[in-house]
């Protein structure tokens, strides 16, 4: 590291109220490297990068670009200095085309005619150069998550940045999309660009990063070349405890079957012949499944093949065009969502920002969403019991390790992973017969994932039925008793645990029936 770093930050401090989000952080990014930034939920990764990108003003500290001190007061400044960032939760205009989204906010040469031919050509050229496959004419709303991500990256490249910050870019990508993203990143650094890559997935870090830094509770504790680090060393630094990691499921690859208990006879969820259609066509069709007490039924499938609609159909959020849903001995078809939730059903939706949280409400209010009419939060007459709500919130914050200043804190100030913890806390706050979880560990740090897996298995032991929808095949194979694979809204096949096989499921995910 004798070369001047392309980006160097020194002594960065940032405090939000009582939380010291960053403490004296130094970090150097060399040119032509992919720099992995790791750390637990709420460690300060996003905050640090937001400082570099000009979204937050640090309380103290200095940023250097190619050895020269600079002040960055806004993303506009950052881009002018060649720094681009793709956020954890980015915003795009759904009804605009890819090209329109990319040029938005840049000078347009032919404004009166809105002639975007030049822009389009430039986007095509960039897309070819870095293997970021995209159709510039496509509308955002028609694109899968991976393509939207590429649009965000192209947006930065279009503005000529040479430093690219990616905040948890792989969270919503399929394994294929992750691979192709990594290919693109490698092409970029080969051309002299530098990348900061935030993730919680060790495998990704180990496969693509040149250098790795670890943050914990606002401090940078470690920076080293990947070749000098082991996975265990990284996790140890992130967690900061000496407790043995050998027990961890994440390193064992195997569910501890003796702890998982047995699947019981009683059917908790029974879906028969479900069909869901709206103006966009048929989203779920001809779908039957059942989940027994003490069973985890995994749902595999490429994102967007009817997973969310299936969950919403069961919960009464979407009307069924056909079919029936039973929970226990009760037919709940056509029942309101609140009544269904009150039967002991808990739901963790996939899209935490859209479907799962109230940004301007307090953490405590978020935690009782869906349970606001239950005792002890509300009396029979509908008067809220603030004390009970606060007490529950305090207990859940502690039990689920939600990093917040307290139950009255505004939920919007939570870090991505902590919002996820909050949604999980809400789902597990009450006795539950049926869990419907959609990517429950998305954005969680490694110990939290472990915590959630333990929780799922302990509920399973006690007889909870779980419908586990996940894009993460490893997660499904680790936890499920059976896996059903969805393709275009239909179940292609169901595998028993003994027949789990990545390759088979992969083929089913592309629509190939299991038994041919």
């Amino acid at each position: 590291m004798n070369q001047t770093p392309i980006l160097h930050v020194e002594g960065i401090n940032k405090r939000f109220g009582a939380v010291q989000a960053l403490k004296d952080v130094d970090l150097s990014l060399q040119s032509s490297e992919i720099h992995g930034l790791l750390g637990g939920n709420g460690a300060g990764k996003t905050t640090l990068m937001n400082v570099v990108y000009g979204l937050y003003k640090p309380d103290s500290g200095q940023i250097f670009l190619r050895g020269r001190p600079v002040t960055i007061n806004s993303p506009r400044d950052a881009i002018a200095h060649g720094i681009g960032m793709v956020h954890q939760h980015f915003l795009q205009i759904n009804t605009y085309t890819v090209t329109e989204n990319i040029v938005l906010g840049t000078p347009i040469p032919h404004r009166p005619t809105m002639d975007l031919t030049q822009a389009r050509d430039k986007i095509r050229a960039l897309s070819d150069r870095f293997g970021l496959e995209i159709d510039p004419e496509a509308h955002i709303e028609d694109l899968p998550m991976g393509a939207r991500q590429r649009v965000e990256i192209l947006k930065a490249l279009y503005r000529g940045v040479d430093i690219l910050i990616l905040d948890e870019p792989t969270t919503n990508l399929t394994p294929q999309e992750v691979d192709s993203l990594f290919e693109s990143l490698k092409l970029m650094v080969a051309e002299g660009m530098s990348v900061v890559f935030i993730t919680h997935k060790l495998r990704e870090v180990m496969s693509v990063c040149d250098t790795i830094s670890v943050l914990r509770e606002g401090r940078r504790l470690l920076t080293a070349p990947r070749s000098e680090l082991s996975e265990e060393e990284i996790v140890r630094t992130m967690v900061g405890s000496e407790e043995a990691l050998e027990d961890s499921m994440l390193f064992s690859e195997q569910r501890r079957d003796e702890e998982a208990g047995i699947v019981r006879e009683e059917i908790v969820l029974d879906v028969s012949d479900m069909r869901i259609a709206d103006e966009n066509g048929v989203l779920v069709d001809d779908l039957s499944l059942s989940v027994r007490a003490g069973e985890i039924l995994g749902i595999a499938g490429v994102a967007g093949n009817g997973q969310q609609e299936l969950a919403e159909g069961i919960l009464g959020i979407r009307p069924l065009s056909r079919g029936r849903v039973r929970i226990g001995d009760r037919d709940v078809t056509g029942l309101g969502t609140r009544q269904i939730l009150h039967l002991g059903v808990a739901y963790v939706p996939e899209d935490r920002l859209q479907d799962g949280f109230l940004p301007t409400a307090s953490v405590a209010q978020n935690l009782i969403l869906g349970a606001q009419r239950r005792t002890p939060y509300s009396s029979a007459r509908g008067v809220l019991n603030r004390r009970a709500i606060t007490e529950t919130a305090v207990a859940l914050i502690q039990r689920f390790h939600i990093r917040t200043q307290g139950p009255e804190d505004m939920a919007a100030t939570l870090s991505g992973g902590n919002i996820q913890r909050m949604m999980l806390a809400r789902a597990f706050a009450h006795p539950v017969r049926l869990l419907i979880l959609h990517n429950p560990t998305s954005g969680l740090d490694i110990p939290s994932v472990e915590f959630v897996y333990d929780l799922l298995l302990s509920h399973k032991r006690e007889g909870t039925a779980t419908l586990l929808i996940s894009d993460d095949l490893d997660e499904l194979m680790l936890l499920s008793d059976r896996i059903a694979t969805l393709y275009r809204g239909r179940i292609v096949g169901v595998l028993e645990r003994s027949a789990f096989d990545k390759y088979t499921i992969g083929r089913m995910m592309s629509g190939v029936e299991a038994h041919d």
Binding site: A18, R338, L341, F357, P359, Q372, L384, T404
Partner: protein, 348 residues
Amino acid sequence: MTEAIVLKRKRGPAAILQALVPYLLAVIAAFAAVGVLLALLGFDVLRAYSTILFTSFRTTNGFIQTLIKWTPLVLQALAFTIPLAAGKFNIGGEGQLIVGGIGAAAVGILLAGLPLPILLPSVLLAGTLFGALWVLGPAWLLYRFGINEILTTVLMNFVAFELIDFTATKIWPDPAAGHPTTVPIGEGGYLPLLLSHPPLHSGLLIAVLVAILVYFYTDHTSAGYELVATGANPRASSVYGVNVRRMFLLSLLLGGAIAGLSGAIEVAGVHHRLIEGMQSNFLLLGIIIGLIAKGNNLAVPFVALFIAILEVGASALQRTMMIPGEMVFIVEALILIFVLLSDVVRRR
């Protein structure tokens, strides 16, 4: 995962004081800005300030004028903030006030002979119902077809202007009045006075009661929780079982009912008849109050009191110093702008 959690309570006097700082700064900045303007126009700035701020407290009459002004202002503000909690904008408060007033006057005139225990509740109830009725159209269009309520509620105001004109000039005109006015309602429909010299009608108590009830509803009941959740994120609320379209409908109807009640109180307490123009600029002030209070229904009565003080100061300004009362309106608007600005600044 052994992060210490600081469980800090965000209430208590210190927190409230801290929350007040940006408001104080906003008020000071607004007064300073208008002070510069007044000085440039050659007025005595300090005397103007003291007129605006202290007229309400110098005389009993000033104080009572302030309370009378406060009554419709707080109700208009609540008619705006209840739908706002659900994320909807009721810009039809004055139309609902007018139509509530028409309902109240109609009952008061048609049943003029009835005694107070029957007539007064009927007058107030009619105002409330008519106000709710006036927002029913926009609310239903929103519920059924998702049609934007801002436009429809505003449009209903214009219909209400025609309606009050028709009522006051064609149905029950009072030819003796030089201005479109109806004949008086029956005396049984008058709100009893709390004080007679100078007169202070008991609509004040109704407004206090409504303000308390609204605060209790939005902040201390599960139904109110659902209203606020809907405003914070309608999609997430519906995923967790809140019927958000019903919340939209309900919140607008409640807002309309309260605005209608304020019309009935103006009729039964202040004018004892329907007068064209009685809605004054209450709608705009109500919206300003609601926005300064940032939709917090506990803060609304206090902000409304402050604005009522400024409004009474404004009329005194005009009377005693020949300074146009609109100056005070500039102060009010500037306070709002500075309060909103302080949010933007603090966010970074």
